[in-house]
């Protein structure tokens, strides 16, 4: 199996299959909505099936980077097309596959300009895959940009606007910039992330140059040792750059606006996968390449993560717009991800990676459901809704399961992630991190159940009629995501076994023998 996957260049196929799909859609499927969807489904399925196979075939005893491919691009500068996955990136690839597979079905009903929608979505996915599988930092960066840019159009064209009233001491600035509109959100997200990417680029080049300017390969840079002072600066650059994407406080404000405005599949992909990309970047590049700086700066990472957890949850509680609640919950959960990573313990780091996965699936589910609710009720205002459970029991059930995963109920994947994070936090050098982490999960329980109660329980709201449950292809998204949440919640070692093979050596590098 492994030979087969290596022989067909599985990682390349996984990465580029959606892109090929995008090209096919652009050039062949004009004005055939069903063909567009079928091409998208097939190209994504290829990636999904291959990533599941790769996941199964990954050799857990050998560990390290597998399914390795390399082709030189610019030999003089040391840029190469170098792909490989270890336990962490493999899980992220799997996550991406799951989310995009569900996302294709969740956006089945996109009516306007669906050809362009799917093409951009698939191009975006190629960027996401590419980021996770590329071992060459330069190529990594190119994929990163590919994963960010289509977002502008995806949100701008297919997004929805919210309602934000200009208030506070900066009220005039709100009128000036048009806060709340989808155009605003798209612009904010894109510019913010590109701003962050500038830091990443600076960091990459700093490492490249100080390692002798011979190679952008992650493996080569990993083998190099950098001056601790340089490490600190580059770590901070990575932390800010990737941190923006991961939604660290106070650089997170693009996320609620962006996710609330984005169309369903984009929110799923962005909150579900792209934010993880930020955390992944901090773990892989920040910690992996800069172990000394990581060891000396985790107090900062963890401290801010604690703010994220509590602050995100409280902000989520204050929202009256359904999509904003979910978006802020991502901010809170990304705090847990970063907190787990900052503990520098095996449990914590495993928890962090598992949380990336668990939260990705969970928030993907949430956005899929919220998209369905919005589509059927044409409203996002939580407190105008009520009693939807009668008309849409399936959505209500799935939302509850997602909510339970989000608040860390056992038997869902969210629990395992949170438990490991707690274990890591208390075992770390900063045991007090356990307090905000635990408080965050309680606050999550409060806002998630409050929202679920308001929307699905209680007497049916008089404002809505003709509500209906999910149907047809929409079920695919829901069922897949719910199944993943539960299966990985019951059998966490499915994910943790390969992850552990990657986190343990990483920790050994940071903490020393």
């Amino acid at each position: 199996m492994t030979d087969f996957l290596v022989r067909i260049h599985a990682l390349s196929v996984i990465t580029w299959s959606p892109f090929v799909g995008a090209l096919l859609i652009m050039f062949t499927a004009r004005r055939h909505p069903l063909a567009v969807r079928l091409i998208a489904t097939v190209s994504v399925s290829v990636s999904t099936v291959l990533s599941i196979l790769a996941y199964a075939a990954y050799n857990r005893d050998a560990a390290g980077f597998q399914f390795y491919e390399k082709a030189p691009l610019v030999e003089q500068l040391g840029i190469g097309y170098e792909l490989g996955v270890d336990g962490i990136s493999l899980l992220m690839v799997l996550l991406t596959s799951i989310i995009i597979f569900a996302g294709v079905f969740a956006s089945w009903t996109v009516a306007t300009r669906s050809q362009e929608f799917y093409a951009l979505l698939l191009a975006l996915v190629t960027g996401v895959y590419g980021v996770f599988v590329s071992l060459d930092l330069f190529v990594f960066f190119l994929f990163y940009e590919l994963a960010v840019l289509p977002m502008y159009l995806l949100i701008g064209i297919w997004g929805s606007s919210g309602d934000v009233r200009p208030r506070g001491i900066f009220a005039w600035a709100y009128r000036e910039t048009g806060v709340g509109s989808k155009e605003y959100a798209a612009m904010k997200l894109t510019l913010y992330l590109l701003f962050g990417s500038a830091f990443i680029l600076v960091g990459i080049f700093a490492l490249y140059v100080s390692a002798g300017a011979t190679s952008f390969s992650f493996l080569d840079l990993e083998a190099a040792s950098f001056d601790p002072r340089l490490q600190r600066w580059v770590f901070l650059a990575f932390y800010v750059g990737f941190g923006i994407l991961a939604g660290i406080w106070p650089l997170h404000t693009w996320s609620p606006d962006g996710h609330a405005s984005a169309p369903t599949a984009v929110s799923m992909l962005h909150a579900g996968v792209l934010m993880k990309l930020g955390a992944y970047g901090v773990v892989r590049m920040g910690m992996g390449l800069l172990p000394d700086a990581a060891a000396s700066l985790v107090w900062l990472v963890g401290g801010i993560a604690c703010i994220n957890v509590v602050y995100g949850a409280l902000s989520a509680m204050a929202q009256v717009d359904l999509k904003y609640v979910i978006a802020y919950s991502s901010v809170s959960h990304m705090g847990l991800v970063m907190l787990g990573a900052a503990t520098l313990t095996e449990a914590g780091l495993n928890g962090s990676v598992f949380q990336m996965f668990a939260h990705g699936v969970m928030t993907g589910l949430f956005f899929a459901l919220v998209g369905l609710v919005y589509e059927k009720a044409h409203s996002r205002a939580i407190f105008s809704m009520g009693g939807f459970g009668r008309a849409m029991p399936g959505i209500a059930t799935a939302f509850t399961i997602g909510g339970l995963s989000s608040l860390g109920l056992p038997a869902t994947s969210g629990f395992v992630a949170e438990l490991l994070t707690f274990m890591g936090a208390w075992a770390s050098a900063h045991p007090w991190w356990l307090v905000p982490a635990v408080a965050g999960t309680f606050l999550t329980a409060v806002y998630v159940l409050r929202v679920a109660k308001q929307i699905f329980w209680g007497p049916p709201s008089p404002h809505f009629s003709h509500l209906e449950d999910a149907k047809g292809p929409e079920w695919v998204a829901i069922v897949v995501l719910v199944a993943v949440i539960v299966v990985f919640g019951l059998l966490p070692s499915l994910a943790l076994a390969p992850v552990d093979t990657a986190t343990v050596p990483l920790l050994a590098r940071i903490l020393g023998p």
Partner: protein
């Protein structure tokens, strides 16, 4: 043989899970309603058979099975499995038995429900049975926590079964949040314990306690946090407020989850982990004190409550606290005994109350009266339950309560003993109050339509009543390992009789005016406080609405209008700056020439400054 026991235990666990999976996944089956119920009932019945066999014919020795769950470098970080010992065997029987009876009862009680709703109900029940069984079989804190949360989930779902009733929805989330508050202490505690010892499993932990590795520094805090879980789940002060509200669920649910099984999980957990709690005497002292206090508090509230289910709910809080007080005073066996007996007769009482409500359509005891005549069967079984709870021999409540009182007395905690004794008196009082008012008092409305429960409801009632009596007789004959001093037996009996007499005097004979009694100081104070539930509900509501939601609104405002505002401010300034700057592009050629001239000037000045720099 031990392996056989283990296998049996896993079969007991697997049967309801299979039923749940079947009902959860196969949508048509679930939507058939009664058929779904039968699936669940068959599974639980089979589980009961296996559990009884295990209890009666098992090897009798302890068996533990463990399988890795969370992988880690150098061995699993955590395992799951099952442990079969005295505690879990007895609990298996109790859980499957009550589950089975309640499910059968539900078929009758909920016969008017729509088929999909009924299917959902039985799916939840199957899940609950699985979770509760998993909890009692847990060989480790972690697994216990997992199932602990799952039973909490079932409780949440079943309280909110009538989800379109706002009160039910509120009660469900309230129950979840408040128990969650304790649960977070629990999980934090076991995580700390893990960090210190490297394991979640009971066996190695107990071994450490035995050899003295435990207690380590900060062990008291750890055990306190773990105890917090029990505070939430077993409704100890100050987290007891959810349980009365949980009566919004269907009555069979109250019988099963909020009386006989789930709420006892806290007691079970503390009993299970008793070897560890012993190593933290301060926590143990706290458990006893809080238990006694809660017992009294809940009893006073039960005395002034008019809703029959809420009386029972407060009584449950009170009885659970009895068990906790027993454990806290060092007699976990007595507590566990009370757990078992209470499970039987409280389920009986709830199901009886359900039959009453089913018949008359109200919960308010003062709108009932002379029900005994209309519902002789129900009245009889309810009376059995009442006598058991009030502690009248030879019913089991007398023996288990007496065992607790003996144990507490012997542990030397006189204060706790006094409080518990007072509570025992109040218990008899409020139970006979219900009995007299509802079953023998004045009829407020004619009950032509009221009739005894249909067989599907009556059979479980009679079975439970019979088992209660049987258990009492068995205890009367063979029990009494604790050699209680005779005066204590007499005191117990006297307290129960005194409660009965007072209730009779106040509510049946009218010798004493209940309202007059309640208005004399200091009873008036207690009365008014108890009627207002000691302001605890109000306090929680205030904390939730005022502090938590208020603070969240503040944070939300800060995020939207300060953190994000600053960003928008900068962007707006940039936009505005561009607008201002374009003003220099006036369109007049000579202004452009001024630009050139000033540019030259600026270049020269800047060059000068640069050249002359120090």
């Amino acid at each position: 043989m031990a392996a056989q026991d283990l296998r049996d235990a896993l079969v007991v666990l697997a049967l309801p899970f299979a039923a749940f999976l079947l009902l959860g996944v196969v949508r048509p089956l679930r939507r058939r309603g009664r058929l779904a119920g039968i699936v669940s009932i068959v599974a639980v019945a089979a589980a009961l058979v296996v559990a009884v066999r295990l209890e009666l014919f098992g090897a009798g020795s302890d068996a533990v099975g463990l399988w890795p769950w969370l992988p880690g470098d150098g061995g699993p970080m955590a395992s799951v499995g099952a442990v079969v010992d005295v505690l879990s065997r007895k609990m298996l029987v109790l859980v499957t038995l009550v589950s089975l009876l309640v499910q059968i009862y539900s078929l009758g009680y909920l016969h008017e429900e729509s088929a999909p709703g009924l299917g959902r109900y039985f799916a939840y029940h199957a899940l609950f049975a699985f979770s509760m069984l998993g909890l009692v079989l847990s060989p480790s804190f972690l697994q216990m926590f997992i199932f602990w949360e799952l039973v909490g989930l079932c409780s949440y779902l079943l309280i909110g079964y009538y989800y379109d009733r706002p009160s039910a929805a509120r009660a469900a989330v309230k129950a979840f949040w408040i128990t969650r508050l304790g649960d977070l202490g629990f999980v934090a505690g076991i995580v700390m314990l893990w960090a210190a010892t490297g394991t979640f499993d009971f066996a190695p932990l107990f071994a450490m306690a035995k050899e003295g590795t435990i207690p380590f520094e900060g062990f008291g805090l750890v055990m306190f946090l773990i105890y917090l879980g029990a505070v939430g789940k077993s409704a100890q002060f100050p987290l007891h407020v959810w349980l009365p509200d949980a009566m919004e669920g269907p009555t069979p649910v109250s019988a099963l989850i909020h009386a006989a099984t789930m709420v006892t999980a806290g007691v079970f957990m503390v009993t299970r982990a008793y070897p560890l709690f012993v190593a933290a005497p301060d926590v143990l002292w706290l458990i006893g004190t809080v238990g006694a206090f809660t017992a009294l508090l809940a009893a006073t509230m039960a005395c002034v409550e008019n809703d029959i289910k809420r009386v029972l709910a407060y009584s449950t809080v009170s009885q659970l606290s009895f068990m906790m007080a027993a454990i806290g005073s060092g007699v976990p066996r007595a507590g566990f005994l009370h757990l078992l007996t209470h499970g039987l007769f409280k389920a009986l009482l709830f199901l009886g109350a359900g039959a009453v409500i089913h018949a008359v359509g109200t919960n308010d005891i003062f709108r009932m009266g002379r029900l005994f005549r209309a519902l002789p069967g129900t009245g009889t079984v309810f009376l059995v339950g009442t006598l058991a709870l009030a502690g009248i021999p030879p019913l089991p409540g007398f023996f288990s309560k007496e065992a607790i009182l003996t144990g507490v007395w012997e542990s030397g905690r006189t204060g706790v003993f006094a409080v518990l004794a007072l509570t025992a008196f109040l218990t008899a009082f409020y139970m006979f109050r219900v009995m007299f008012v509802a079953f023998f008092g004045r009829a407020h409305a004619p009950y032509e339509h009221a009739h005894d429960a249909p067989p599907s409801m009556a059979v479980p009632l009679w079975v439970l009543a019979g088992l209660t009596v049987l258990a009492g007789l068995r205890l009367a004959m063979g029990g009494g390992e604790e050699h209680a001093p005779p005066w204590l037996l007499a005191l117990s009996l006297a307290l129960a009789v005194a409660g009965f007499v007072l209730a009779w005097a106040a509510y049946q004979a009218g010798v004493v005016s209940a309202s007059a009694l309640a208005s004399t100081f200091p009873l008036s104070l207690v009365d008014s406080l108890a009627r207002r539930r000691y302001f605890l509900d109000a306090l929680y509501a205030g904390l939730y609405r005022g502090v938590m939601l208020g603070f969240s609104r503040l944070i939300g405002w800060i995020d939207r209008y300060l953190v994000d505002g600053l960003l928008n401010f900068l962007s707006a300034c940039t936009l505005r700056g561009g607008d201002l700057l374009r003003g220099i592009q006036s369109g007049r050629a000579q202004d452009y020439l001024y630009g050139v001239a000033f540019g030259l000037l600026a270049l020269v000045v800047w060059a000068q400054l640069w050249l002359r720099r120090p």
